[in-house]
Amino acid sequence: MTHIERGAPAITLAMIGTWLLFASVPLWIEKVGLYQYLGVEILIFATYALAYNLVLGHAGLPSFGHGAFFGIGAYAFGLAQHHVWPNLWFCIAAAAAAAAIAGLIVALFISHRRGIYYALMTIAFGQVFWFIAIKATSITGGEDGLLKIERLPVTTGFASFDLKSNVALFYFVLVVFMAVTIFLWRLVHSPFGRVVKAIKQNEMRARFVGYNVWAYKAAVLILSACLSGMAGGMFAMAQNSAFPDVMSLHYSGYVVMMTLVGGGLVSFWGPVIGAAAFFLARDVIGAVTTGWMLWFGLCFVILVLFKPEGIAGLFQGYMRSRAAPKSVPPQPAPTSVAR
């Protein structure tokens, strides 16, 4: 917390370490018996979970319908590509914008709520969008999905890179992920981010020190939806298609699980850890038993019961117990600033 008065660094060691670790993934992932596409999935969902944690961990607003924004981004990417302009940047922007608009619509109805009522309203809205995606067959392809979504080349003024291979796509997603981590890191330390954090702790006091709480809650949801939609757009590219299932309630539950298991409530990097843990569990436990979700679910229950701070919380606890002399009881985590 000491850096609070001086300001947080723009780029941290943890950030660089995470980037480098991900950047090395395509070099070894096949050697450990996994496959390149898994890396793409993890990075996309890590981006999505980071965006989601803005709402859950940072603003303390339990959204259980976030899949809607991810899915809308995926459809918007495909539709923009098919009907408007097959340009990567344009389609990503369309995905982000469409999800942000959906976020705005939801925010208008729920931003005066918090807690369980907020959660119920987000579920209801999530279901509405999911239902529309299934029923609007002429636009979304219904349950068959929206197919033939191309992996568009990265065009810059002077060169163009093809994203057809999973490795190329991985590095593209990594660049987006890096941009998102820098932006979110700045955001949580900015005046806006600190006010949101204050609102999470005490909405009434925040109003009585002069903040329009409704507007901040709405803004956070819209921002989160926008970034989730961007992740959804990349997922449409990865899958070459967009399906309604990512918008369903149980897919929305996955991102909640990733965020909580990873430790999004106590750590900036929790959602990233959680996304990686989720997909690794799916593939590693899934290789042994088709009931992998049973085991992952059990882990989730155990974590929530005994270590609600998640994997990042376990790690922080370990670091503290090593730093502190044995006779002194461990100090409570400094939670006021995301690390």
Binding site: I4, F183, S190, F192, G193, S336
Partner: protein
């Protein structure tokens, strides 16, 4: 002329009349007290004056301007801040950040999503200025929730001061404090007196009578007496009630 005025406020919750024809006026630079038994409507009255509730009838005037029914955030921006009877801090923030987030300087930058929130040295100066006033400068780095009760009461006032108010409403600042803590808080409020207009709700009569320039007594949702402490001591109602019993 009164800087803040309430005229004929009425408020009902369902069929219960909570405020009935309440008129109050607070003079600029003075410390006014509001007293009355539990459930008399004192805190409700504060809640109407600071925008938490809308009155059914009546008007609230700040520097002659009608602010009836305005939102709390609007009223704070006009220069009217309040503290709370039940502790209302940002518990996970440090003492420093509890103050810093409430500063108008932070508020004016609060749409900024990129810059560090409190990196400006002027912000730290302002925060430490307020922490000096409430005697918590040496605890700036501690989490608010780790503070002892008396220090939390002081921080409660500090957060309201951070809004840079011209008028400060204090809702039972000594609630739950022992004699020692009360004395320290009285000292703090005595120091603030004269720097800005203050209105205090208080149960502790000794506390209020020693500090206030003028006191209004609220009972059954009505103002039943008003005057200087000296005059109120002669008031037969105050004298005969437990309220007026001074140690």
């Amino acid at each position: 002329m009164a800087i803040f005025e309430a005229r004929e406020l009425h408020l009902r919750f369902g069929d219960r009349v909570v405020l009935e024809d309440v008129s109050l006026a607070f003079e600029e630079g003075k410390l006014s007290g509001i007293m009355g038994p539990n459930g008399a409507g004192k805190t409700t009255c504060f809640n109407v004056l600071t925008g938490r509730y809308k009155p059914d009838r009546g008007r609230v005037l700040w520097q002659g301007q009608d602010i009836t029914g305005r939102s709390p955030q609007d009223i704070v921006r006009l220069g009217v801040a309040r503290s709370f009877q039940l502790m209302n801090l940002f518990d996970e923030f440090s003492v420093f950040e509890n103050i810093a987030v409430a500063l108008p300087a932070t508020r004016s930058r609060s749409t900024n999503m990129v810059r560090s929130a409190y990196a400006d040295p002027a912000v730290a100066d302002e925060v430490y200025g307020i922490l000096e006033r409430i005697g918590l400068a040496d605890r700036a780095r501690d989490d608010a929730k780790s503070l002892p009760y008396g220090a939390r009461r002081a921080l409660e006032i500090g957060v309201a001061l951070a809004c840079k108010p011209k008028l400060l409403f204090l809702d039972e600042p000594t609630a739950g404090l022992g004699a020692d803590g009360r004395a320290r808080l009285a000292e703090l409020i005595a120091r603030l007196k004269g720097q800005l207009t203050i209105v205090v709700i208080e149960h502790d009569m000794e506390f209020l009578f020693s500090l206030a320039d003028e006191i209004s007594v609220i009972h059954w949702g009505q103002v039943i007496a008003r005057g200087t402490p000296a005059a109120l001591k002669q008031n037969p109602w105050v004298e005969s009630s437990n309220l007026g019993r001074l140690n």
